[in-house]
């Protein structure tokens, strides 16, 4: 991203990046309704996940055979499954799993991607090797690579996170590398080099902050895709083991009772749809904000 202020005199630019991310976000939120809606949806899902224990009316794992396969009613607003477990409580706890997976995948993919992207963009000797490997990983369609990795690693929560982090790291690395390639030629970075600042300081203090906006946009989309991918993997039986109430595993069970008890499938699916929709709205809004061509229109 080429921010206009980056061409300011070196001393001014060295002090801090031109416009802080937060002021951008704040400005954008005042102007873009869909970004606000997206943000509110994401916050609500976070709220539900954090307070799952308080919000859920029943124990998500409690088996109650007498009440099995009940349609939505006063006691069970989302109905019950084949073992009489409350679908609402399971969907509420499912939010936790989705957010844990999404957060951990984003944390891992973003940290690995930043490290690799900075190295590739700043050290010419590493560039070829790193980017060839990233290109190789991106040559696989993402869900297929995730399935293959899960086949080798085995169906566990930590492995889903590892597999998806491997799948999404190249995207972050690419973004960070391309920003680094531009920034390293700018005067203020060259000035820092001339002053004898160590490489680590240049990368962390001067390059990374300016690469953050596009990375955050990517991270939002990676979060959305991770939620979808985890649900798909779990639905296919290669993601989370069935005893963990995730939106994907609930649907796997619900599928067997689709004709007699469609509510088991419909509600967790809606939960996925709403969460991913919120993340995509937020991501689209943040992307428009960080695009200098569109920013003029917002101001």
């Amino acid at each position: 991203m080429s921010q206009p202020a980056a061409a300011l005199p070196a001393t001014a630019a060295l002090a801090r990046p031109p416009e802080s991310l937060w002021s951008l976000v704040f400005k954008g939120l005042r102007r873009s309704r869909s970004t606000v809606i997206g943000g509110l949806i994401v916050l609500s899902v976070v709220f539900v996940a954090v307070f799952a224990a308080v919000l859920s009316p029943h124990d998500p794992q409690a088996i109650n055979v007498i009440d099995r396969l009940q349609g939505p009613n006063g006691t069970y607003p989302f109905g019950t499954d084949n073992l009489g477990r409350d679908t609402l409580s399971r969907v509420i706890y499912g939010a936790r799993i989705s957010l844990i997976v999404g957060t951990m995948v984003v944390v891992c993919a973003v940290s690995a991607g930043i490290a690799l992207g900075l190295a590739a963009g700043y050290a010419d000797r590493l560039d070829r090797v790193i980017m060839r490997v990233m290109d190789g990983l991106m040559a696989f369609p993402s869900i297929l690579l995730a399935i293959a990795l899960m086949a080798a690693l085995g169906a566990r929560l930590s492995n889903v996170i590892i597999a998806l982090a491997i799948v999404y790291t190249p995207r972050v690395a690419r973004v960070v590398r391309s920003v680094t390639l531009v920034l390293r030629e700018l005067d203020y970075v060259q000035a820092a080099q001339a002053l004898g600042a160590p490489t680590s300081r240049i990368l962390i203090r001067h390059v990374l902050p300016n690469a953050l906006a596009p990375v955050i946009v990517q991270a939002t989309f990676i979060f959305a895709e991770s939620v979808l991918a985890e649900a798909s993997l779990s639905f296919l039986g290669v993601g989370l083991p069935p005893y963990i109430p995730s939106w994907g595993t609930i649907i796997t069970v619900g599928r067997m009772f689709m004709q007699t008890a469609p509510w088991i499938t419909i509600f967790p699916g809606l939960a996925i749809l709403i969460t991913v929709l919120g993340l995509n709205l937020l991501g689209d809004g943040l992307r428009d904000l960080s695009d200098p061509r569109l920013r003029g229109r917002l101001d």
Binding site: I143, A151, A152, A231, S232, L236, G269, I272
Partner: protein, 314 residues
């Protein structure tokens, strides 16, 4: 042009090398001895020994890697002891539903996405634009498998219009094959159509703002002609790239969709192979689809240069 294609083919080699390397090391991510994991706890020492020998696991790592590259170059994807046949043959036997599903869903994606993108761009900032983009957002956010389950419930169970699951091979009945693929193709095509619609819209907007469009209007052309002959032709170029990228995603998405609709395709083969730890098949399909994906992207780049003389390929 020939030189360009040749250069692009050479540039593909390192990517294919990395792809093959990732495929090779996949099996080493397995905790423990892959042969023991594949055969389960009841395997005898002799069976284990034989399988290790068959898969080459008893050789030094570098020798295995070398032999793997050699096999990939020959197009030999290995042998499945569970299916008792070469992996390539197993893929070939199940290719028909997957290939048809991928192409049909691509057709769905283009048939929905391109008109929606054009309308959204031409009627920019009207309710038509907002509705198209809203639906596109829904398309990228909905879990595919869940959409498929709902379509089955609505169109097959309640309305009885399509079979609930299963596949009729093409040589038995073309109409039957089509009928069994309509819902899966719609399921899979919807999310790709959203990407196509967004790309068509943004490239149409970009083209519509250019000088030659103003000239075309100033010449007194009808608006229809300006949009379809002058704008659309130029706007389709980036859209074609997205369609090419979508093709790879659709092939992989077929894995999930085939499971929902119980289609006996390559996707079902992968999932059942994962569940019974048939590593050669998982590796083989991964290599197969990645190779197609890479080649399709090359093809798209070539078409791109062919369509847009402004793109320099020197």
């Amino acid at each position: 042009m020939t030189a360009y294609i040749a250069r692009r083919l050479i540039a593909l080699l390192p990517v294919l090398l990395i792809v093959a390397t990732v495929g090779f090391f996949l099996i080493y991510l397995t905790p423990g001895d892959p042969a023991a994991v594949m055969l389960g706890p009841d395997a005898t020492d002799e069976e284990l020994h034989n399988l290790r020998e068959l898969m080459g696991l008893d050789r030094p790592l570098l020798v295995q890697l070398y032999l793997w590259y050699a096999r990939m170059l020959r197009g030999d994807l290995g042998y499945s002891i569970f299916l008792n046949r070469p992996v390539l043959q197993a893929i070939h036997e199940r290719l028909e539903p997957t290939a048809l599903l991928t192409l049909l869903s691509l057709a769905v994606a283009v048939a929905i996405g391109v008109p929606a993108g054009i309308v959204a761009a031409v009627r920019r900032n009207t309710w038509l634009d907002q509705a198209s983009m809203g639906i596109a957002l829904f398309g990228v956010s909905v879990p595919n498998f869940w959409l498929g389950l709902n379509l089955i419930l609505l169109f097959s169970v309640y309305l009885g219009l399509f079979p609930v699951a299963g596949y009729v091979p093409l040589d038995q009945s073309a109409a039957g094959a089509l009928r069994s693929l309509v819902l899966p193709a719609v399921t899979l095509g919807v999310s790709a159509s959203a990407l196509v619609a967004r790309m068509t819209r943004s490239s149409m907007l970009e083209v519509l703002g250019q000088d030659f469009i103003r000239t075309a209007r100033a010449k007194g052309n009808k608006e229809r002609r300006v949009i379809y002959r002058h704008a659309l032709r130029n706007a389709m170029i980036p859209t074609i790239t997205v369609i090419g990228l979508a093709l790879g995603g659709l092939m992989a998405g077929a894995v999930v969709t085939e499971t929902v609709f119980a289609l006996p395709g390559v996707g079902r083969l992968v999932i059942s192979s994962v569940l019974r730890r048939d590593y050669p098949v998982v590796q083989g399909v991964l290599m197969f689809i990645a190779a197609i994906y890479v080649l399709v992207n090359l093809l798209i780049d070539v078409i791109y240069v062919y369509l847009d003389p402004r793109v320099k390929y020197a």
